[in-house]
C-alpha cells in the first residue's frame, strides 16, 4: 500500500552502466511488470527498490517520502528472488513464519498470519512438510507466502515463474493475479516473458540495456509501441520488420517497401527522413482471402515452415528474401514452398525511424 516514485536513478558496476537515468511512478495497490530481455537491468532496479543496493545518483520515494538512504529493513518491502531459497532444514510453516519471528511477533499472531496466507496460496496442507518434499510450483508458492506474510507495503518479485515447468507457470499466472488482487499491496514483478506481462500485470515498464523505453498499461504499450524495440520485446513471436524508403512522385509521397508502394502523402508533415523501418506484429498478418481488398498490403510469399502449437499456428514465410512470421490463431498446415498470399491492414503498420527506431507514426 504505497506509491513508489523512482527519480532519475542511475547505477554502474565496473564502469558498465546497468541503469541509465530511470524515472517512473508506480501507483498505490497496482500491479506493474518490468519487462525486458536478459541484461536490461531489471534485477538491479528491484534490488534498489528493496534497499539492498543503492543508486549512484537519483532518488526513491515511497508515498512522497525519500527512502533512498533508508535501510532495507526499515522500508517494509518484501522480495522474492528468482532462485528463491527456502531454508531446507525448516518445515514450510517455519519457512513462512521466519520473517515474523525475526520481527519478534508473538506466537499466536504468527500462527494466525501464517494460516491466513497459507490459505490464500493453497499451501495449508503442506505446512508440515520440508521443502525437498515439495514440487517446484509448491516451493514457489511457499516463497511467495513468505514474502506476503509480512504484510509489506511493497512486494517485489524477480522472475517468479521462470524456473517453473510451463504447466505450473500457466496455473500460477492466473493464480498470482487473484492473490495479488486480494492482498491489496503494491506489486512490481520483473520478467522477460511478455506473456507474463499480458496475463498478470496492469502496467508494464519496458526496459532494454539499462534504459526505460516505455511505460503504460499493457494494452496501451502493445498498441502504441514508442520504439521498434518495444514492439519486439512485447511480441511473441517477435515483431516483423521491413525496410522502407520514401519516394516523391508528382507531388505525392509514397513509402516503398520493396516493390510495394503505400501512399503516405497525408503524413507529409511527420515523414522527414528518407529511410524507415516498417513494423508488423505477427498477429496482424492474415491470409489475403480473409481481409477486405481495400487498404491492405498483399505479399505474395512462399511458406518456409509451419509450426502448429495445439490450436494455433506459427507460419514462417519468405517474401522477397525477407523472412516474416505470422501468428495464426487456428490450425493451418502448409507445406514448405507453398505459395501463399499474405496481407496486413495499412492500419496495422507501424512506421519507425530507421536511424533510432523511434515510432514516427502508425498508419491511419
Amino acid at each position: 500500500m504505497v506509491t513508489v516514485y523512482v527519480d532519475k536513478v542511475s547505477k554502474s558496476f565496473n564502469n558498465h552502466k546497468v541503469l541509465d537515468n530511470i524515472s517512473f511512478e508506480v501507483k498505490d495497490k497496482s500491479l506493474t511488470c518490468i519487462l525486458g530481455p536478459v541484461g536490461s537491468g531489471k534485477t538491479t532496479l528491484l534490488r534498489i527498490l528493496a534497499g539492498v543496493e543503492s543508486p549512484d545518483t537519483g532518488s526513491i520515494f515511497f508515498d512522497g517520502r525519500d527512502v533512498t538512504k533508508t535501510h532495507a529493513r526499515e522500508r517494509n518491502v518484501a522480495m522474492v528472488f528468482q532462485s528463491f531459497a527456502l531454508y531446507p532444514h525448516m518445515k514450510v510453516y517455519d519457512n513462512v513464519a521466519s520473517p515474523l519471528k525475526i520481527m519478534k511477533m508473538n506466537t499466536d499472531e504468527i500462527k494466525k498470519r501464517v494460516n491466513d496466507v497459507a490459505e490464500v496460496l493453497k499451501i495449508n496442507h503442506l505446512l508440515n512438510r520440508f521443502p525437498n518434499e515439495l514440487s517446484g510450483g509448491e516451493r514457489q508458492r511457499v516463497a511467495i507466502a513468505r514474502a506476503l506474510v509480512k504484510n509489506a507495503d511493497l512486494c517485489l518479485l524477480d522472475e517468479p515463474l521462470t524456473n517453473l515447468d510451463y504447466k505450473i507457470r500457466e496455473g500460477m499466472r492466473s493464480e498470482l493475479r487473484k492473490i495479488f488482487r486480494e492482498r491489496g499491496c503494491t506489486i512490481i514483478l520483473a520478467t522477460s516473458d511478455p506473456l507474463d506481462a499480458f496475463a498478470i500485470a496492469q502496467y508494464v515498464i519496458v526496459m532494454y540495456k539499462g534504459k526505460l523505453l516505455q511505460m503504460g498499461t499493457v494494452q496501451e504499450v502493445y498498441t502504441n509501441p514508442s520504439n521498434a524495440l518495444v514492439g519486439n520485446i512485447l511480441s511473441r513471436p517477435p515483431m516483423n520488420f521491413l525496410d522502407a524508403s520514401l519516394r516523391k512522385s508528382d507531388g505525392n509521397l509514397f513509402l516503398e517497401i520493396h516493390d510495394v508502394s503505400v501512399d503516405v502523402s497525408h503524413f507529409r508533415e511527420a515523414l522527414k527522413e528518407e529511410e524507415y523501418t516498417v513494423g508488423i506484429y505477427p498477429d496482424s498478418l492474415f491470409f489475403a482471402t480473409e481481409l477486405p481488398t481495400k487498404n491492405v498490403v498483399k505479399l505474395r510469399s512462399n511458406v518456409i515452415l509451419t509450426e502448429v502449437e495445439g490450436s494455433e499456428s506459427i507460419i514462417h514465410i519468405e517474401w522477397k528474401d525477407k523472412r516474416l512470421v505470422m501468428y495464426y490463431p487456428h490450425i493451418k498446415r502448409l507445406n514448405p514452398g507453398d505459395s501463399v498470399e499474405v496481407a496486413f491492414r495499412l492500419s496495422d503498420m507501424y512506421i519507425f525511424s530507421k536511424k533510432n527506431g523511434e515510432l514516427v507514426l502508425r498508419y491511419k
Binding site: 515447468d165 504447466k167 500457466e170 487473484k178 490450436s311 514448405p336
Partner: protein, 354 residues
C-alpha cells in the same frame, strides 16, 4: 538412421527409486519428442537408449539388432545436452572434430562442416574460438557437431532450456526446417509442450516412468488417451468436468447432454465420467444467438496477447474459453455453445472412452 525399440524397460536406481516402469515403444525414423513433467523419467530413458545406463530390466533394439549390451560408442549416437558443450578451439574444429577422429578426408570434412554451419548461421564465425560465443551460438555449434557425423540416433536433451526466449523460437524453427532434409531418427526431450507440438512429427508423452501415448501432435491434441494428456497438452489445459450418466443423459452441473447414441459404450463403465472439451471448442457470444446457448458469467479474463482466456462460471460448472473477442470484461454474462463433435468422455479413472 534406425528405429529404436524399447522392450519392457524398467529401471530402478539405488534406494529402490523406480524411475522407469515397463516402457514399450518404437521410435520412428523421424523427429520424435519425449515430453513429460520434470521427474517423469525422460532423462533416464534417454540414457538407456544412449547406452550410458544399463536398464534393470528389458531390451533395447536398433532396428532388429539387440544393442542392450553395446557401449555408447558402438551404438553411434549423437547427443546434445541442456548446457552446450564446446571445446577450446575454433568453431570449425569444434564441428569437424568427430569427423577428424574418424579420419574422414579433409576435403569431405570441409564440405560437411560448411554445409551444416551454413544452415545454422555459423559461417561467419568459423574461425572464432567457440568459448567466445553466446549460449545460443554455442548450442548451435553443438547441434552442428552432432549433425555432421550421421549418427544412428540423434538425441537432444532439453537443448533450448538455457537459451533466451527469442533465440529459442528461432532455433526451434531452424531445427524443424533442417530435420526434413536429414531424415534422421531424432529424439527431442522436453518438458515444454509448445516445443514438442511445433517441432515433432511424433510425440511420446511420459508420466511417472510410463509412456502414456505415442502419436502425432494432432492426434495427441485432438484425442488424448487419458485425462493427464488432456491436461498436460494445450494452453490452457482441456476443460475436464465430473459428470454423471442418467437415462442416456450426461449431467454436468445443471446442464445435460443427450448421449443416447453412445449409451452402450458408456453404461458398462458405471455412471460417473469425466467430460472433456478444449477451450477453443466452445463458441462464445455476447448476446444469445439461439435458444440452446448457455449463459455463463465471466469471472476472470486472462490476456495472452492476441488471444484471451475467459474463466466462466454458471450452471454449476466452471469453464475456460479461448477467444479473440476482446471486449468482454469481468462480470459480463456471455452465451456459450459447446461443439458436440469435440466432446471427449473419459472414465472416472482417466482413460478415454469416446
Amino acid at each position: 538412421m534406425v528405429r529404436v525399440t524399447l522392450e519392457k524397460i524398467r529401471h530402478v536406481y539405488p534406494g529402490n527409486v523406480e524411475a522407469v516402469k515397463d516402457v514399450n515403444i518404437t521410435f520412428d525414423i523421424t523427429l520424435n519428442s519425449l515430453l513429460g513433467p520434470s521427474g517423469c523419467g525422460k532423462t533416464t530413458l534417454m540414457k538407456i537408449i544412449a547406452g550410458l545406463l544399463n536398464p534393470t530390466e528389458g531390451r533395447v533394439y536398433f532396428d532388429n539388432e539387440d544393442v542392450t549390451s553395446l557401449s555408447p560408442q558402438a551404438r553411434n549416437i549423437a547427443m546434445v545436452f541442456q548446457f552446450p558443450i564446446v571445446y577450446d578451439m575454433s568453431v570449425y574444429d569444434n564441428i569437424a572434430f568427430p569427423l577428424m577422429v574418424r579420419k574422414v578426408p579433409t576435403q569431405e570434412i570441409r564440405k560437411k562442416v560448411l554445409e551444416v554451419a551454413g544452415l545454422f548461421g555459423l559461417k561467419n564465425v568459423l574461425t572464432m574460438n567457440a568459448y567466445k560465443l553466446d549460449l545460443s551460438a554455442k548450442q548451435r555449434v553443438a547441434i552442428c557437431r552432432a549433425l555432421v557425423r550421421n549418427p544412428n540416433v540423434f538425441i537432444l536433451d532439453e537443448p533450448f532450456t538455457n537459451i533466451d526466449p527469442e533465440s529459442r523460437l528461432a532455433l526451434r524453427a531452424k531445427l524443424k526446417e533442417i530435420q526434413r532434409g536429414f531424415n534422421q531418427t531424432m529424439i527431442f526431450v522436453t518438458h515444454d509442450q509448445s516445443e514438442a507440438l511445433t517441432l515433432s512429427n511424433m510425440i511420446a508423452i511420459m508420466k511417472d516412468g510410463r509412456i502414456l501415448q505415442y502419436a502425432t501432435p494432432e492426434e495427441i491434441y485432438e484425442n488424448p488417451e487419458n485425462t493427464f494428456v488432456a491436461y498436460f497438452i494445450g494452453m490452457p489445459a482441456m476443460n475436464l468436468l465430473s459428470c454423471s450418466l442418467e437415462k442416456g443423459m450426461l449431467k454436468l452441473g445443471e446442464l445435460s447432454f443427450d448421449v443416447s447414441n453412445i449409451r452402450n459404450i458408456l453404461e458398462p463403465h458405471g455412471s460417473e465420467f469425466i467430460f472433456g472439451i478444449r477451450a477453443e471448442h466452445i463458441e462464445l457470444s455476447k448476446v444469445p444467438l439461439s435458444s440452446d446457448e448457455i449463459p455463463m458469467k465471466c469471472v476472470l479474463v486472462e490476456n495472452l496477447g492476441p488471444i484471451k482466456v475467459l474463466y466462466l462460471e454458471g450452471n454449476g460448472i466452471s469453464l475456460k474459453v479461448k477467444t479473440k473477442v476482446d471486449d468482454i470484461v469481468e462480470g459480463n454474462t456471455v452465451y456459450i455453445k459447446i461443439l458436440k463433435n469435440k466432446i471427449r468422455i473419459f472414465k472416472k479413472t482417466g482413460e478415454r472412452l469416446v
